[in-house]
């Protein structure tokens, strides 16, 4: 047992070192490549997916408010970190706006999480007692209300209404988002493996029994909801840094659906799954499957159906296939472990398959 622990630690350190080296290389040599861009966006989406999974997968609360909390995070970060001398140009329709502070980036990111938590508390207080699908539609509704509020002309001096916010600090290295997201996901994993994480799972399994075991439903659900909102806010701030601009128009429910589908692809209830899912999803949609949108000519034959939008059709068909026939997603509820990897390579093929069948049944 102890030997395994030591081995796992060493393997993890080696793995982290290799990844860091590769990232440093990409950062130095390929800073503006598609690869670098995918790595950054996928890391952020991984954090967003894990934070949604904490609610949907681990606590059994079907929330669709993710985009709303991301938007709050993105706006908080943007508003607090735009350099003072840029205010006049960014807030050109509102006389330079009324916010006269410019905080360091990391303070802005933390504030993004905190603001999301404050609003999550306001949303959660009435909504968390609702049953599954009503909760989904109520959180979706709250996200829409927040979006309308931010775009309201009256709040323009703060939010710039429906105009774009920009010129705030961006990432100076692709390592920044990767490290911040990895650290946040690590915190979420610690939570899931703690006594509170077990209480979350108890609620997911059976609310009545969980309550009979002394778990306060309202309080515990709120803890999960606030934690999820915090990291959604942080993720939103990071997304703002990555995109270099923020506009309320883009934080629609479609964005929440996108993250939800990543969670489904990876496996509802698996952190590893969400991470793998988001890298696959982002890499495919931004990069690997781009060719589907352009007309292609193979062996002198032009393929007529490949044109703008085809990629998304292929994508949604794949997602439907996963939802219908492969409901476990990539990882089911399993998690990554070195032992799992080693077993995978050690055991003969036939045996492994039998085990897989057993795991599913």
């Amino acid at each position: 047992m102890m030997g395994n622990k030591k081995r796992d630690l060493i393997l993890s350190l080696i793995f982290a070192a290799v990844i860091t080296a590769v990232l440093v290389f990409i950062d130095k040599r390929l800073h503006y490549s598609m690869l670098a861009s995918v790595i950054q966006k996928a890391s952020i989406y991984a954090l967003l997916a894990v934070s949604l999974n904490l609610l949907n997968g681990f606590t059994g609360l079907f929330s669709l408010g993710q985009a709303g909390f991301m938007m709050l995070g993105a706006y908080t970060y943007a508003i607090l970190t735009i350099p003072l001398d840029q205010h006049a140009s960014v807030y050109q329709y509102f006389n330079g706006g009324v916010v006269n502070v410019c905080l360091p980036a990391f303070v802005g990111v933390t504030a993004a999480g905190i603001v999301a938590v404050i609003f999550a508390w306001l949303v959660g207080k009435p909504c968390l007692k609702l049953k599954s699908d009503y909760l989904a539609i109520a959180t979706l509704g709250f996200a829409e209300i927040l979006r309308a509020l931010i775009q309201w002309e009256v709040l323009g001096p703060v939010t710039n209404a429906s105009n774009i916010l920009m010129k705030f600090p961006k990432f100076d290295s692709i390592l920044t988002p990767v490290i911040v997201c990895a650290f946040c996901i690590f915190l979420i994993v610690l939570l899931i493996n703690s006594s509170y994480g077990r209480a979350f799972k108890a609620i997911r399994e059976d609310e009545v029994a969980a309550e009979a075991m002394g778990i306060n439903l309202a309080k515990t659900k709120m803890q999960a909801f606030l934690t999820s909102a915090f990291f959604a806010g942080v993720g939103g701030a990071l997304l703002a840094m990555f995109q270099a601009s923020v506009q309320a128009r883009s934080f629609t429910s479609a964005m929440t659906y996108e993250i939800l589908l990543i969670v489904v692809i990876g496996g509802i209830g698996s952190v590893t799954g969400s991470i793998i899912g988001s890298f696959l999803y982002i890499a495919s949609s931004e990069w690997w499957l781009r060719f589907l949108d352009d007309s292609q000519t193979y062996l002198g034959v032009n393929i007529p159906f490949m044109r703008g939008g085809f990629r998304m059709v292929v994508f949604s068909v794949v997602i439907m296939l996963i939802v219908l026939f492969y409901r476990q997603g990539i990882m089911g509820t399993r998690e990554f472990s070195w032992q799992g990897i080693i077993d995978f390579f050690k055991k003969p093929f036939a045996k492994r398959e039998r085990k897989a069948v057993k795991d599913n049944g």
């Binding site: 915190l187 610690l190 939570l191 493996n193 703690s194 006594s195 509170y196 077990r198 209480a199 799972k201 108890a202 399994e205 059976d206 009545v208 029994a209 969980a210 309550e211 009979a212 075991m213 002394g214 778990i215 306060n216 439903l217 309202a218 803890q223 934690t227």
Partner: protein, 280 residues
């Protein structure tokens, strides 16, 4: 006279126009095993649900260790609809959520087993330890509560060993055979460190051998944990075997109360209970 643990006073539970429990008075004293029996649909589980805070009774009062944990009187729509007795006797409303009642020291099992069936046997018991852990959200989430976490794990494991469930600790709870699932549910209830244990048909679906073992086991845990036990049951052998006192409920109304020997010879009970079931 032993100390009173549970005192149910004039409790009536009415759903719409249906009176499920009618003016029930019942006591459980320290160290006793008290059974509540009655034909199907007599309102036994409803009594449990009132005590554990799942339902709010329509009228009446429930004390636990001298503290009123539940009290209610017909309000709102019920004012007109109320068909029970002792209207106007109570005028305060006290209620607690089920988790708080568990915290005060009443643990329960369910008639149709409600384990966390996709989680491991060990996790099932460990979850019940959460309530009394000395930790806060941040210390636990950042794993700064190592000593406390270790204690919870050890105590949970000890409970599993005592039940002979330790060899299944990593199995999925839902995969256990029925009898063991019942035991796991009791182990899980014990993990909340209760003073009063409510067992809802603990022998349901068990064969005679298993029932016998269960009877012995209930006695054992009562002594070991200094518990009082209040159970609802159908198996007459089990009830007559282990109960100190028995209450009999029929159509929500208490028809008899006494030690097992008295109940066995009570004509009303035989009529209501055995008579009816023979006719069917």
């Amino acid at each position: 006279m032993a100390e009173n643990v549970l005192h149910i006073e004039n409790v009536t539970m009415q759903f719409g126009g249906v009176v499920a429990v009618n003016n029930l008075n019942l006591d459980v004293n320290q160290g006793e095993i008290v059974a509540l029996i009655g034909p199907n649909g007599a309102g036994k589980t409803t009594v449990f649900n009132c005590v554990t805070g799942v339902y709010e009774p329509t009228n009446g009062k429930i004390d636990f260790l001298g503290e009123t944990i539940v009290e209610n009187f017909p309000r709102g729509k019920m004012k007109k609809l109320y068909a029970g007795e002792n209207m106007g006797m109570y005028n305060e409303a006290v209620s607690h959520t089920p988790d708080l009642i568990t915290y005060k020291g009443i643990a329960r099992t369910f008639q149709n087993i409600r384990l966390f069936s996709k989680l491991s046997v060990f996790e099932n018991v460990l979850i019940a330890k959460h309530m009394r852990a000395r930790q806060n959200f941040f210390s636990a989430a950042l794993h700064l509560n190592r000593a406390e976490e270790k204690r919870m794990r050890e105590e949970a494991l000890a409970l599993l060993e005592e039940q002979g469930l330790d060899k299944y600790r990593d199995d999925v709870a839902g995969s256990l055979p029925y009898g063991l699932q019942r035991r796991l549910e009791i182990a899980r209830a014990l993990a909340t460190e209760p003073k009063l244990l409510l067992l809802d048909e603990p022998a349901a679906g068990m064969n005679p051998q298993e029932t016998l073992e269960l009877a012995a086991f209930i006695g054992e845990i009562r002594d070991k944990y200094n518990l009082s036990v209040f159970l609802v049951e159908h198996h007459m052998d089990l009830v007559m075997n282990i109960s100190d006192r028995i209450y009999v409920l029929d159509f929500g109304k208490l028809i008899a109360h006494g030690v097992p020997a008295e109940i066995q010879s009570n004509e009303k009970v035989i009529e209501a209970y055995l008579g009816v079931s023979e006719d069917e």
